[in-house]
């Protein structure tokens, strides 16, 4: 039980702290990064760069372990196929990201920074996820 809860809780907390420190809970900063042809703000390139470098190091070593610290085995994505659904979905996600400057993690983390605005975004996002579930059935 503790082993099932604590790693995700610590991971989520560290994740939320990093999102806030990096400015991702401020949609104005995120849109500033996406405004490449206007008044560009490169801050998010540092966020993504820092995160990718640390995680690339983790990928080098962690999967060599016999099993994760608190689970019996690794459960990692194995698909390699490039599908229209992957590309179309990602294209849509990018449009939504650009419109309001929010993606799922910062939207949820911002529930304590600007609760009403973040809640409107998060509830709408859950509705969008629910629509796909209804269209596709169980997945």
């Amino acid at each position: 039980m503790i082993g099932r809860i604590l790693p995700p809780l610590f991971s989520g907390t560290l994740f939320g702290a990093g999102l806030a420190l990096g400015g991702m809970t401020n949609p104005a900063r995120v849109r500033g990064f996406l405004d490449l042809f206007g008044d560009w703000d490169p801050t998010l390139a540092f966020v993504m760069g820092g995160a990718v470098i640390v995680m690339a190091i983790a990928w080098r070593f962690v999967p060599r372990m016999a099993h994760p610290l608190f689970a019996e085995k690794f459960a990692l994505p194995t698909r390699t196929d490039l599908t229209p659904k992957l590309i179309g979905g990602s294209a849509l996600f990018g449009m939504g990201w650009g419109i309001a400057g929010l993606c799922p993690g910062p939207g949820i983390a911002a529930l304590v920074i600007q609760p009403s605005s973040a809640a409107i975004f998060v509830i709408s996002m859950l509705a969008g996820m629910g629509i796909i579930r209804l269209v596709e059935g169980n997945s």
Partner: protein, 148 residues
């Protein structure tokens, strides 16, 4: 620290935040053997998807996100945030929800965990959502749509 030519940028905070996010994703891999992908974990928590991390684990991760943001806000003496108006938030939220489920991930799962693993699917997804995100902001600027 200032970045020459970009007076509004906060490169040190950005890098520090990114390192924390990377450590968070590494901790998820090390502790639970899983990807720290927020859209998938969210869908799992509310019962929209069935597989993956345990449901209580998914909630634990999600509760951590605002908790961590609160810690940063407390340590830094408050956070600046400027949000779009409700109509834009609703449209954006719906599209983000639909897109992340169709595309199997978002900025965290594809952009951080997948790109750092050199996953072909995640590299394609990340380039795609970066391009459409940049294009969306550019088009909205041309149309004079003030969001924030």
């Amino acid at each position: 620290m200032m970045l020459p030519g970009f007076p509004d940028a906060a490169p040190l905070e950005g890098l520090g935040g990114g390192i924390l996010i990377g450590l968070a994703a590494a901790l998820m891999l090390l502790g639970a053997g899983r990807i720290a992908g927020v859209s998938g974990i969210t869908a799992r928590a509310v019962g929209i998807s069935d597989g993956g991390i345990s449901r209580d684990g998914a909630w634990a991760f999600l509760i951590g996100l605002p908790l961590g943001a609160l810690i940063t806000a407390a340590l830094s003496g408050g956070l600046e945030a400027q949000f779009a108006s409700p109509p834009f938030l609703i449209i954006a939220g719906l599209i983000v929800g639909i897109g992340t489920r169709m595309g199997s991930g978002c900025t965290s799962g594809h952009g951080v965990c997948g790109v750092s693993r050199l996953s072909q699917r995640s590299l394609v997804a990340t380039v795609t959502f970066m391009v459409t995100g940049i294009a969306t902001v550019a088009i909205m600027n041309v149309l004079g749509l003030e969001v924030l």
